[in-house]
C-alpha cells in the first residue's frame, strides 16, 4: 500500500555524518581516504579535473567500468563495506 504519508527521515543521535553526506561529498571523502586523491590535489583548485581522473583510477582498481563519472555502480562501491587500508600509496 502507498505510504499514508511521506516517510519522516530522522537524524539519529550518534549516527555518523557519513550516512547523510551528499554523493559528491561521499565520493571526495572516499577518494581521499583510499589514496586516489592526494591532500594537495584536494586543496588545489583543479578539483573537478582530478575528480574525474581519480574516479577512473578507482574504477580501474576495483574492476568497475572506467567512466570517470560518479555513476550508480561507483557510488554503490563507495558505500560497500570494505577494508580501511588505502588502495593507493602508503
Amino acid at each position: 500500500p502507498l505510504q499514508s504519508k511521506p516517510r519522516a527521515v530522522v537524524t539519529f543521535p550518534g549516527e555518523l555524518v557519513s550516512s547523510t553526506l551528499s554523493d559528491l561529498e561521499l565520493a571526495e571523502s572516499y577518494l581521499l581516504r583510499f589514496g586516489y586523491i592526494t591532500e594537495a590535489e584536494e586543496r588545489s583548485g583543479s578539483k573537478h579535473m582530478s575528480l574525474g581522473k581519480a574516479l577512473r583510477k578507482m574504477q580501474k582498481q576495483l574492476g568497475l567500468e572506467e567512466t570517470g563519472e560518479l555513476d550508480a555502480s561507483t557510488l554503490e562501491a563507495m558505500r560497500a563495506p570494505r577494508c580501511g587500508v588505502p588502495d593507493v600509496g602508503t
Binding site: 516517510r7 519522516a8 527521515v9 530522522v10 539519529f12 543521535p13 550518534g14 549516527e15 555518523l16 557519513s18 550516512s19 583510499f34 580501474k60 582498481q61 576495483l62 574492476g63 562501491a77 558505500r79 560497500a80 563495506p81 570494505r82 577494508c83 580501511g84 587500508v85 588502495d87 602508503t90
Partner: protein
C-alpha cells in the same frame, strides 16, 4: 596482487599473535577459532607458522575498537570501514584492528554459543519450540532466575537439549574478575546501576561491577552482548525494548522507519521520542574469519589486489566455501616462498638483458649450463601407458624471429600452447614464441607461423606433436592439418577423424602415450588413435567425469612435463596423471616465467 612499497615482509617465519580484547558480539572461543583458521589460510601455502601468545608483545597484535581507537585512523560506525591492518615491522606494524561498531558473526547471522546446560556448548538452534511455542531468540520463559537460555535443536519439547545464552548475569569477559557475572545493583561513582553501562569509559564498551560496590572493590568485567543486542547507534550492546514508541507510533519489532538506507533499528528504551536511545538490529553481520584472513594478509605484507575474486580485494563479500584465489597464493609466495601446499614459484628474477639477435642473425641458444636431464617429479610418471621409446626429433630449421620486441608477456592469453620438440610453443595471431625447459634462454620469438608451417591460418585453436612420429597436428575451427617438417597434409575436416558437428572447434590436446591423444572441445573430449586417424568408439565423454576440478571450457589444454595443464583467463590448473589438481597458478609468471 600488490605488496607494500619495498616488499615489506617479516624477517622470520615463526610469527606470534596476541588477541588484546574480544568483541562482545561473539563468544571468545568462536573468535579465537576464527583467527586461528584465518592464519591457517596463509600458513597452508607458505612456510609461515603462527603461535598465539597471551601476554607480552607479539608480532601481530589484534584488537577490537570503535571510532578513534588509538592509532589515528578512526573507524566510522556500522558498515563502511570494517577493519584495517599495518604492514610488517616493529611496534604497530603488523597489527590488525577490527571495528566493533560492526556486527561480527561468521557471515550468516548471529552465532549464539551456549554455556552450561546439557549441550556441551553447542550453538542455539533458531527457531526452536518450547512448550509448543516457537522462538527465534534466547528466552527466560520457564525459569525464575531470569537467565536467558535456548534449545540447541529445533525442539526442546522433543530433545530436551539446551544451554544458557551469553548474558552478563552468567559471565563477563576480560576485566579483573576472571569471568564472574555482574552484581546488580552496583555502586559506581556514587551512583547505583541496575544494568551494564558505558559510563566511565570512552571506548563505548559496556561493563559492570562484579561486586555490589565498584568504588570500594574495583572489581569489574565487560558485558557480553545478548542475542537481541543492538549494533552501533548510541546503545551498542543494549537489548531492544519491545514495544517502543517512535514518532508517536508503537513498534513491536525492528523497523527501517525514519531511515533512507533501509537498515533495521530499534529503541533500547520503551520511548525513542523521549529517550533517543537506539541501535541497529542484528543482521547477517560480517564474517570475522573472512575479514581477519584479509587483514592478516596485510599484516604479512600484501596490499590490495584488483582481482575481484581475490581475498585481498578491498571490498567485503561473504563466500561460503572459502578458497584462496591464485592471485593471493602468488602474492604471499612471492614474499615467503612455498609451503606444504601446492608448489608455486616466486616470479622469476628479472632476466639479465641479453642483446637480442638482430632478425637477420640466427639466434644462437646459449646453453648457460650442461643440459639438465628433465626432472621427473614423483607421481608425474604416466600410470596409464608404458614409456615411449625415444626417437631423435626431426631436424627443424631454426625459425627467424619476425620481431623479437613482440613480447609474449604482454599477451593476455594464447590461441594454443603445446610442446614441440621439447620446447613449449605459445601461438597468437600468426606469431609464436618458444620457451625451452632445457635451455635457460627464456622466451624466444616472436616467430612467424607461416614461415615455419606454411598454409596454416593466422589463428589456430590447438596443436600437438605426435610422440611417436613427431608429426605436428594443428586445428582451426573444424579443420586440421598434419605437418611432417614442412610437408603438410590438409586442411581436412575433423569429421574425417570421427568428430561430429557438436564440436565447433578443438581447444586442446593431451598426448596419452602409444599413439593416443585426447582432443578437447567445450565440455567434452575424444580419444584419437593417431595411427588410423579415427577417434575411438564410446566418445565423446564429459571432461568433468575424469578431469574433475579443472575449468571445463578451458581455452588451452596441453601436456607438459608429464602433467595436464588446463588454462582459463590468466590462470592454469595443473593435474597429475592421477587426476589430482596439484597446482593453480599464472600462465604468465609460472609457465612463461615473465618477470
Amino acid at each position: 596482487f600488490l605488496t607494500f612499497e619495498g616488499d615489506l615482509k617479516w624477517d622470520h617465519m615463526d610469527l606470534t599473535y596476541r588477541v588484546m580484547n574480544y568483541s562482545p558480539d561473539l563468544d571468545r572461543a568462536v573468535i579465537d577459532d576464527a583467527f586461528k583458521r584465518a592464519f591457517k589460510v596463509w600458513s597452508d601455502v607458505t612456510p609461515l607458522t603462527f603461535t598465539q601468545i597471551y601476554s607480552g608483545e607479539a608480532d601481530i597484535m589484534i584488537m577490537f575498537g570503535s571510532q578513534e581507537h588509538g592509532d589515528g585512523y578512526p573507524f566510522d560506525g556500522k558498515d563502511g570501514l570494517l577493519a584495517h591492518a599495518f604492514p610488517p615491522g616493529q611496534g604497530i606494524q603488523g597489527d590488525a584492528h577490527f571495528d566493533d561498531d560492526e556486527f561480527w558473526t561468521l557471515g550468516t547471522g548471529i552465532v549464539v554459543k551456549t554455556r552450561y546446560g546439557n549441550a556441551n556448548g553447542a550453538d542455539c538452534h533458531f527457531p526452536f519450540v518450547f512448550e509448543g511455542q516457537s522462538y527465534s531468540r534466547c528466552i527466560t520463559e520457564g525459569r525464575t532466575d531470569g537467565l536467558p537460555w535456548c534449545a540447541t535443536t529445533a525442539s526442546y519439547d522433543r530433545d530436551k537439549k539446551y544451554g544458557f545464552c551469553p548474558s552478563e548475569l552468567l559471565y563477563t569477559n576480560g576485566g579483573n574478575s576472571d569471568g564472574s557475572p555482574c552484581v546488580f545493583p552496583f555502586i559506581f561513582d556514587g551512583t547505583s546501576y541496575n544494568t551494564c553501562t558505558t559510563d566511565g569509559r570512552s571506548d563505548g564498551y559496556r561493563w559492570c561491577a562484579t561486586t555490589a560496590n565498584f568504588d570500594h572493590d574495583k572489581k569489574y568485567g565487560f558485558c557480553p552482548n545478548r542475542d537481541t543486542a543492538v549494533i552501533g547507534g548510541n546503545s551498542q550492546g543494549e537489548p531492544c525494548v519491545f514495544p517502543f514508541t517512535f514518532l508517536g507510533q508503537s513498534y513491536s519489532s525492528c523497523t527501517s522507519q525514519g531511515r533512507q538506507d533501509g537498515k533495521l533499528w530499534c529503541a533500547t528504551t520503551s520511548n525513542y521520542d523521549t529517550d533517543k536511545k537506539w541501535g541497529f538490529c542484528p543482521d547477517q553481520g560480517y564474517s570475522i574469519f573472512l575479514v581477519a584472513a584479509h587483514e592478516f594478509g596485510h599484516s604479512l605484507g600484501l596490499d590490495h589486489s584488483s582481482v575481484r575474486e581475490a581475498l585481498m580485494y578491498p571490498m567485503y563479500s561473504y563466500v561460503q566455501d572459502f578458497q584462496l584465489d591464485p592471485d593471493d597464493v602468488q602474492g604471499i609466495q612471492y614474499l615467503y616462498g612455498r609451503g606444504s601446499g601446492p608448489k608455486p614459484t616466486a616470479p622469476a628474477p628479472m632476466p639479465t638483458e641479453k642483446p637480442q639477435p638482430m632478425p637477420t642473425e640466427e639466434p644462437q641458444p646459449v646453453p648457460t649450463e650442461e643440459i639438465q636431464p628433465m626432472p621427473t617429479e614423483a607421481g608425474s610418471t604416466s600410470t596409464t601407458e608404458e614409456e615411449e621409446e625415444e626417437e631423435t626429433p626431426e631436424p627443424t630449421t631454426v625459425p627467424i624471429p619476425v620481431d623479437p620486441s613482440q613480447d609474449a608477456c604482454i599477451e593476455k592469453n594464447f590461441d594454443a600452447i603445446t610442446e614441440i620438440n621439447g620446447e613449449l610453443h605459445f601461438f597468437k595471431n600468426g606469431k609464436y614464441w618458444t620457451r625451452s625447459s632445457f635451455w635457460k634462454s627464456g622466451i624466444q620469438g616472436a616467430f612467424s607461423v607461416a614461415d615455419t608451417w606454411p598454409g596454416l591460418p593466422a589463428v589456430i585453436d590447438a596443436a600437438f606433436q605426435d610422440v611417436l612420429t613427431k608429426r605436428v597436428f594443428f586445428f582451426a575451427g573444424r579443420q586440421f592439418w598434419v605437418f611432417s617438417g614442412k610437408n603438410v597434409l590438409g586442411p581436412r575436416s575433423i569429421e574425417k577423424l570421427g568428430i561430429g558437428k557438436e564440436a565447433s572447434r578443438i581447444s586442446g590436446a593431451l598426448q596419452r602415450g602409444r599413439g593416443k591423444v585426447l582432443l578437447f572441445s567445450g565440455e567434452n573430449y575424444w580419444k584419437l588413435d593417431v595411427k588410423v586417424q579415427r577417434v575411438d568408439k564410446g566418445y565423446p565423454r564429459a571432461t568433468d567425469d575424469v578431469f574433475t576440478g579443472v575449468p571445463l571450457d578451458a581455452r588451452n589444454v596441453f601436456l607438459y612435463q608429464d602433467k595436464y595443464h588446463f588454462c582459463q583467463g590468466s590462470f592454469y590448473w595443473r593435474m597429475t596423471p592421477r587426476y589430482q589438481v596439484d597446482r593453480v597458478g599464472y600462465v604468465k609468471y609460472d609457465i612463461l616465467q615473465c618477470p
